[in-house]
């Protein structure tokens, strides 16, 4: 038997708390706790990492409470930082709350979502032995702003006292307490006034597509979804809340560019050319800050690669990276705020929403046909280029294959809603394994190159530069060794991807179906 959960209803407008209590007092002893009142700020990451796991977190000054949304059971209550605009898990003092938050939040920061004033009373309902047989909470939730206050009645049952609980329900019913409510109504409405809705953002590309749509309609939907992603991340990039805003922004830009280069003749050529150029520019101007973010996020990992004696040599290096990031971030903010950038995004939206004066040759073909063609083409390329992959393949060639894989990945993700879900997941999973190894290999390659450039520009002569050079040398050695180690897994990773079952699945899903034609 499950522990009975909480039930929540709206308190009818005409019903006063005292009237409800005296109705309950006719059948139960009452133990009424003193009234509580607090204004709390609900908080989560931009992509709802806590909510996704069923958690709600709110703070009231420096006191923080983490609890489960469904049961309302408090997990931890602890002191923490004052939440002004944003804060990270590392800003919390060591303790249980921080230990719980760190893996959940990762590199993302907490942002205030909704401010709600809560006030109410808890009432224990007692039997003749003065044993608690149920709990009632009468609570008013008032989201900040001009919205209405919500008056709620919540019932918490106690195991083994089902009869008593049924009697409480009858009493509530008699007093017109029967319209069920979400116990989180204040939170939900508070989010709404801030323009948010739980789970309204995810960095994953998920899009429902209409299988009967044309290529033009479908591509417009895909591009608009990506554009929405771009515009929603911009405020976070400008405010520099955490590094994921820029990362997600760049991924959405890259997906858009990939779409423009993969899918030809669906939008007019002039449009494709213009926006390929424009999104290319946006991609470039967001690059330097992201590169620096990656090195700064890797700080711990870099230090761990070095013997302790060499570690202090990197101190100045990271200080310098931090300084350069400030400069680049400023440039990035200026560029994103510029009239030009804003105009490009507005123009892109207009183009996608309006009808082409001269439709492109493939605009009217069915979306499934378009997806099929593109995915099959990308797949063939990966299979062809991948054949040549072995432990001795030059870095540049590995890099090219990585790009091919990325294009296939984006193509699969764009159109995934048009094909059987389970099969698409298998293909994506296989591809992802190959991508992971190629991606790590490339990261190691790029990092070594960056360290090489830093080393080249280092002037000889000072003690500090000497120590830095030694540390850089140590790092390059460690990165190089790991990269060489990855090479030995290339063939195996590609064989897994190109095994007969996976290729058969690709053909089955995306081969031209002549019999059907």
């Amino acid at each position: 038997m499950q522990q009975p959960g909480a039930d929540t209803w709206y308190m009818p407008d005409g019903l006063q708390v005292d009237a409800l209590l005296s109705a309950l007092a006719a059948e139960f002893g009452l133990d009424i706790a003193p009234e509580y009142a607090a204004t709390v700020v609900y908080t989560d990451t931009f992509d709802w990492r806590l909510y996704q796991q069923g958690y709600l977190l709110h703070c009231h000054g420096q006191s923080w409470t983490l609890y489960h949304g469904d049961s309302g059971e408090v997990t931890v209550q602890q002191g923490g930082p004052e939440l002004a605009t944003s804060c990270f898990a590392r800003d919390f003092p060591p303790g249980q709350l921080r230990e719980l938050l760190e893996p959940l939040l990762g590199v993302r920061c907490l942002l205030p979502l909704a401010t709600v004033s809560l006030s109410g009373r808890q009432i224990r309902l007692l039997n003749r032995d003065e044993k608690t047989v149920a709990r009632i909470v009468v609570e008013t939730q008032q989201p900040a702003g001009k919205g209405p206050a919500f008056r709620l009645v919540r019932l918490f049952g106690i195991r083994g006292y089902d009869h008593e609980q049924a009697r409480v329900r009858r009493l509530l019913e008699h007093n017109a307490v029967h319209e069920t409510a979400s116990p989180l109504i204040g939170f939900e409405e508070g989010c709404r006034t801030m323009g948010r809705r739980p789970l309204d953002y995810s960095s994953k590309f998920v899009l429902e597509l209409d299988g009967a749509g044309t290529a033009r309609q479908t591509m417009a939907r895909i591009y608009l979804a990506l554009l929405d992603n771009i515009t929603r991340n911009i405020p976070g990039v400008l405010a520099d809340w955490d590094s994921e805003f820029l990362h997600d922004l760049r991924v959405a830009i890259r997906r858009t560019r990939s779409g423009l280069s993969l899918v030809k003749k669906v939008l007019p050529e002039a449009v494709v050319n213009r926006f390929s150029r424009e999104f290319g520019r946006l991609g470039t101007l967001t690059g330097p800050t992201r590169d620096l973010d990656v090195y700064l996020l890797n700080r711990e990992e870099y230090l761990n690669r070095l013997p302790p004696a060499l570690r202090p040599g990197l101190d100045g290096f990271f200080v310098e990276l931090g300084r350069r990031r400030l400069v680049e971030q400023k440039k990035l903010v200026r560029a994103l705020r510029s009239k030009k950038s804003r105009a490009v995004l507005a123009a892109w939206q207009r183009v996608l929403r309006s009808r082409d004066r001269q439709p492109a040759p493939l605009a009217a073909i069915p979306a499934t046909e378009l997806g099929r063609k593109i995915i099959l083409k990308r797949c063939k390329r990966v299979l062809r280029d991948g054949q040549a992959l072995d432990a001795a393949t030059p870095d540049a060639v590995v890099h090219r294959l990585r790009i091919q894989c990325k294009k296939l990945r984006y193509a699969l993700e764009f159109f995934s809603a048009l094909y059987p879900r389970q099969e698409m997941q298998i293909l994506l999973r296989q591809l992802k394994k190959l991508q992971d190894i190629l991606g790590s290999f490339n990261d190691l390659s790029v990092q070594q190159e960056m360290l090489r450039l830093t080393l080249r520009e280092l002037r000889a002569g000072s003690r500090r530069n000497l120590e830095l050079a030694a540390a850089l040398g140590g790092l390059m050695q460690s990165l190089y060794r790991e990269q060489q180690e990855l090479r030995t897994h290339f063939t195996e990773a590609f064989d897994q991807f190109s095994d007969p079952e996976t290729t058969a699945l690709f053909h089955e899903l995306f081969r031209k179906k002549q019999e059907a034609a």
Binding site: E73, R124, D129, K131, R159, Y161
Partner: protein, 247 residues
């Protein structure tokens, strides 16, 4: 998940008071806890103001499964449930005797509860019977309150030889001194002579009016009078037990 049995052959040594308070502390600190009142007198049930369900008794207990699940009651404290005792437990040995593998039956019926609870605490009746044997098999730890007097020590010896007889080691047993009176010279001397022995806990529960009055206010003393001498004593006892339990 671990099972603690609070047990002594002798009655009136503070078993139930310990069970109730430790169960409360366990639910506060270690997660969901179930207190099983095995004593037909039902004192633990009384402390939590829980009456024995109408259609429940020794036979239902030994059937296990839904017969147990349906009769578990939530206490006034979140995370602490209890299975109240029934007067029919006084004849539980007869019922046990009819079961197959009669000395391991209790452990068997408790098994499904390991999923739901992080800890189970058994408040045991004072005797040495087939039920006791069942309890010793099922428990990971036998917690024995002992009043530092000669007779109490004698009952401990009886416990140890019984454990030996049924092939259970004495290392399962943790002993703590209960109802200790500071002004009694014999208490101090007895404790001094035993303190160093293995399995003897250092925390001591004093003889206390606050504990005696639990029957009046019907709450664990730790919940009703936090910070009192008695409450602090149970807390340090619980802390010590925690460190001794297998993880």
């Amino acid at each position: 998940m671990s099972i603690i049995a609070v047990y002594n052959i002798k009655g009136g040594v503070g078993k139930t008071a310990a069970s109730v308070n430790l169960a409360y502390l366990s639910s506060q600190q270690q997660g969901k806890t179930l207190l099983l009142d095995m004593d037909p007198q039902g004192s633990a049930s009384f402390y939590f103001r829980i009456r024995s369900p109408k259609k429940f008794g020794a036979k239902k207990l030994l059937k296990g499964g839904k017969h147990i699940e349906e009769n578990i009651r939530g206490t006034d404290y979140p995370g602490l449930d209890m299975l109240p005792a029934d007067f029919s437990y006084r004849n539980i040995d007869i019922a046990l005797d009819e079961c197959k593998k009669s000395h391991k039956r209790l452990g068997k019926v408790l098994e499904p509860l390991h999923q739901e609870y992080d800890r189970i605490i058994l408040d045991c009746p004072p005797n040495l019977t087939l039920l006791s044997e069942n309890i010793f098999y099922a428990a990971d730890c036998i917690l024995a309150p002992v009043i530092p007097t000669t007779l109490s020590l004698l009952s401990l010896e009886q416990l140890f030889s019984f454990l030996e007889e049924i092939g259970q080691g004495r290392d399962k047993v943790l002993i703590f001194f209960s109802m200790v009176e500071k002004r009694k010279k014999m208490h101090a001397e007895m404790m001094r002579s035993m303190r160093e022995e293995s399995g003897v806990l250092q925390a001591v529960i004093p003889y206390s009016a606050d504990i005696e009055r639990m029957g009046i206010y019907r709450q664990p003393v730790v919940a009703a009078l936090p910070g009192s001498t008695a409450a602090t004593a149970y807390e340090s006892l619980w802390h010590e037990i925690q460190n001794r339990l297998p993880a």
